[in-house]
């Protein structure tokens, strides 16, 4: 149990870095050609990267980008997925059938392949394109969860009683289905947050992210290119990604365990 507390701690660190980080330290685009790929020093606590960019500042700005992308992507996915899935589970019929087919289809593309395919459609991907590419497959997870929950609730007495009393579908959804979904969705979203951070880093690592923003993945890619002479760049960027993803995964597990204890 003790180990699980590391998760929330890492998440808190990430949140602090994303919220306050960009005000600390140098500007991540500040160029100093005399100080390229310097090892950590008093002036640059984590050293510098290409063009003498301060690594600490780059990491903090990267945290801001990762947080924004993940918040927006998870937010949209939760909203769209939960509503569509709950509606389909409650109503059944042809809407449920069409949605089921659509979900199967989206999930026929493994991992980041669909993300890349969507980004390939635009000449120069921007932040918005990146978010869209991540959200298009993202909602399915929540839709499946919400659909299953709505299906099981449909059979429960209190929902059937409400139905008999003339409650509309919208009211059933708002009063009975959605409140029951908050817990499971929150747990799922916490784990998924780390997944989106990883997907964003991976896409940037592959060179598919927006060139206008500082990203951990792009930094790791840059560091991998100079691994022989300046391994600190890749070490710093990779650690940031790995610790953040680990933090959200552990926090998700921790929430899941707590929910199980309460349920059991």
């Amino acid at each position: 149990m003790k180990g699980l507390r590391i998760g929330p701690l890492l998440v808190a660190l990430f949140a602090l870095a994303a919220v306050f980080g960009p005000w600390v330290g140098a500007h991540p685009m500040a160029i100093d050609l005399d100080q390229q790929f310097e090892l950590p020093s008093a002036a640059h606590p984590l050293g510098t990267a290409d063009n003498g960019v301060d690594l600490l500042a780059a990491i903090l700005h990267g945290a801001r980008l990762a947080a924004i992308v993940a918040l927006v992507v998870v937010g949209i996915s939760v909203l769209v997925g939960t509503l569509l899935g709950a509606w389909a589970g409650l109503r059944g019929g042809s809407f449920d059938l069409v949605l089921g087919g659509l979900m199967d289809l989206v999930q026929s593309f493994p991992g980041i392949i669909l993300n890349i395919a969507i980004l390939a459609l635009v000449a120069e991907p921007t932040l918005l394109h990146l978010i869209v590419a991540l959200a298009v497959p993202g909602w399915v997870l929540y839709a499946r969860l919400a659909r299953a929950e709505a299906l099981s609730l449909r059979e429960r007495e209190f929902v059937q009683a409400a139905q008999v009393l003339g409650a509309s579908d919208g009211r059933l959804l708002a009063r009975h289905v959605l409140p029951n979904l908050v817990g499971p969705i929150l747990i799922q979203a916490t784990s998924a947050f780390g997944g989106v951070v990883l997907a964003e880093s991976t896409l940037s690592f592959l060179g598919l992210g927006p060139a206008t923003h500082v990203s951990w993945g792009a930094l790791l890619d840059q560091g991998s290119g100079v691994l022989l002479r300046f391994p600190h760049v890749a070490l710093v960027a990779g650690s940031a990604i790995a610790l953040t993803v680990l933090g959200f995964n552990l926090t998700g597990d921790w929430l899941r365990d707590r929910a199980d204890v309460h349920a059991g």
Binding site: G101, D104, L105, S108, F109, P110, G111, I112, I113, L114, I116, A117, I118, L119, A120, L121, V122, A123, L198, S201, T202, F205, L206, G207, L208, G217, L220, G223, S224, L227, L228, P231, A234, L235, G238, S239, I241, A242, V245, L246, N249
Partner: protein, 317 residues
Amino acid sequence: MNGELGRYLFVRIIRGLATILGVVTLVFLLVRMIPGDPVDTILGDRATPEDRADLRERLHLDDSLPVQYGRFLGDVLDGSLGRSFRSDRSVGERIAEVLPDTAALALAALALALALAIPLGVLAAARKGTAVDRLASTFAVLGLAIPNIWLGPLLVLAFAVQLRWLPLPGDDAVGAAGLVLPAVTLGTAFAAVLARQTRAATAEALGQPHVTAARAKGLREWAVLRRHALRLAWLPVLTVAAAQLGALLSGTVVVEKIFERPGLGALFLDAFFDRDLPVVQGCVLVIALTYVAVNLALDLAYAFVDPRLRLGGERAR
């Protein structure tokens, strides 16, 4: 029982075929969903009118959508998958050229994961609470937590730069030595999940009454493991394969980039940056169809290995 199995297989195969048709259609529509004029996206705004007209002609953009779709289906069925913009060859030829490299990488990763995770999981279950067990659970947590974009550079740093045991990325793209680090990078997450699942399945099997009876009869521990526990090892392998297949397939794109290896993922990325949309389309299609086909095969294999599932419906994911 037999009719039940037949019906399950029939339904599952029909669903698989429907998904394949859906994937083909979606990949076709994807490229038609390019915002604005696709010619602008592909050539940029500095292209000459002749180039633009030529590309419109080659893309058959002036045909109606059903005609384009029919042509696309034909290209899929004859395996050519259309023509590349950049080289004058068919997409199918270019993919066939690099597919063996990616298959070798994926199979090596799979073999490595099986060779490591199954003994580790079985040993951990047989020696519960010992150092082996702790090693296995540490490996299971860390192996899954380390992203492959990070594990790859770390392995290169340790084994190619510091220890110099293995070649640097790009130095030995075809030999067996050059395959080690890419396969470890790709297979570690798979091995981590598999070790955990194997441990759980073996521990459960060892707790069964018939195993206790076998031990009481005086059967040696190794024989108990071999006769009763390892026979069940297929189930976790299939479960983990189904759950990790997507990560494995998309991981090849990442690993081929890190280690500068040729393959489907490398072709996919090159085509992305060249804006060679037919090749992008072909790569997406081949990867997705592989995914659907292997998933279908895993489901069918599962039905044969574990007959309970045929009655309960589908495998839980």
